[in-house]
């Protein structure tokens, strides 16, 4: 596969390491609340595992070491968009 890196252009997926759903960005912050156990369980274990456009995390280990959010169709492997995970994370309101 070829991942069109937003900063580096198209690169062979062999340079990357796959992690999984981009939902892993949304780590719960409510560790002190009563719902924490359920929220962390859902966060870590339950997957939509969509047959269609999947937002997923790839790490450019043999490249610029950026984490990317790749939107890729799991039926055709067509890649619709590639974003820096750091940007996505910030856009979702995460900071420090």
């Amino acid at each position: 596969m070829i991942i069109n890196h937003p900063l580096l252009g198209p690169r062979d997926s062999e340079e990357f390491v796959y992690l999984g759903s981009a939902d892993l960005i949304n780590r719960p912050t409510n560790w002190e609340s009563e719902e924490a156990a359920e929220d962390f369980y859902q966060y870590l274990y339950i997957r939509e595992n969509i047959a269609g456009d999947n937002r997923e995390l790839w790490y450019h280990e043999q490249g610029d070491q950026s984490w990317l959010v790749v939107t890729r169709c799991t039926l055709t492997h067509e890649i619709k968009s590639v974003e820096l995970a750091q940007d996505v994370s910030r856009a979702q309101g995460r900071s420090k």
Binding site: L7, L8, E14, E61, Q62, D64, Q65
Partner: protein, 190 residues
């Protein structure tokens, strides 16, 4: 005065091999320093580098040179640059920090991290296409281009420093394996 003397050694002992159309040689005189640019400080750092050395931050995958040509900056990551320059002492980190005069950057010496091998000569691309997944067409990987990729299962930085000349950097411990890989390519192609 210590009773003991410590001496330095390059990763590949200065290996150099000439073949018909290609020369493979270890680069032993270059230092490499990583300069990390904290969020919001990139402009300030670039201004300082520009003022002190006439350096600008290169585009991703590209390089720039200082005004006197002594320092090359590589850009392989968004928030950092690498200074590649002829320097042989073990204090490159302090040296480059002083020359840049950009105190808000973080400097980390990487000179000993890498084994550097130059592959040059008219057949260099024929050799490299057996191991390098990057498109090395001269019109695509232009002079001064730099890229980090994987070759023969070894993370490798490739830098084009001449029309038919490329420098390959692999982590020092992999140096022998990379040199071997290049030599096998030579054997298979030439």
């Amino acid at each position: 005065m210590s009773d003991y003397t410590i001496v330095k050694e390059s990763p590949l002992g200065g290996a150099e091999h000439e073949f018909d159309g290609v020369t493979v040689s270890e680069v032993v005189d270059q230092s490499l320093v990583m300069i990390a640019m904290p969020n919001g400080k990139a402009e300030e750092i670039e201004a300082a580098m520009s003022k002190s050395c006439g350096l600008s931050v290169p585009a991703m995958g590209q390089s720039t040179q200082s005004a006197d040509g002594s320092i090359t900056l590589w850009r392989l990551q968004k928030n950092q640059v690498l200074a590649y320059y002829a320097y042989e002492s073990d204090d490159a980190e302090a040296n480059i920090a002083e020359r840049f005069n950009a105190p808000s950057a973080y400097y980390t010496d990487q000179s000993d991290t890498w084994a550097m091998i130059r592959v040059s000569g008219e057949r260099s691309r024929d050799i490299l296409e057996r191991i390098c997944p990057i498109d090395l067409d001269p019109s695509v990987f232009t002079l001064g281009s730099v890229s980090r990729t994987i070759m023969e299962h070894i993370g490798t930085i490739i830098y084009r420093d001449g029309d038919d000349s490329y420098v390959l950097l692999t982590m020092r411990s992999f140096g022998r394996s990379m040199l071997h890989a290049i030599e096998v390519s030579v054997e298979n192609v030439l």
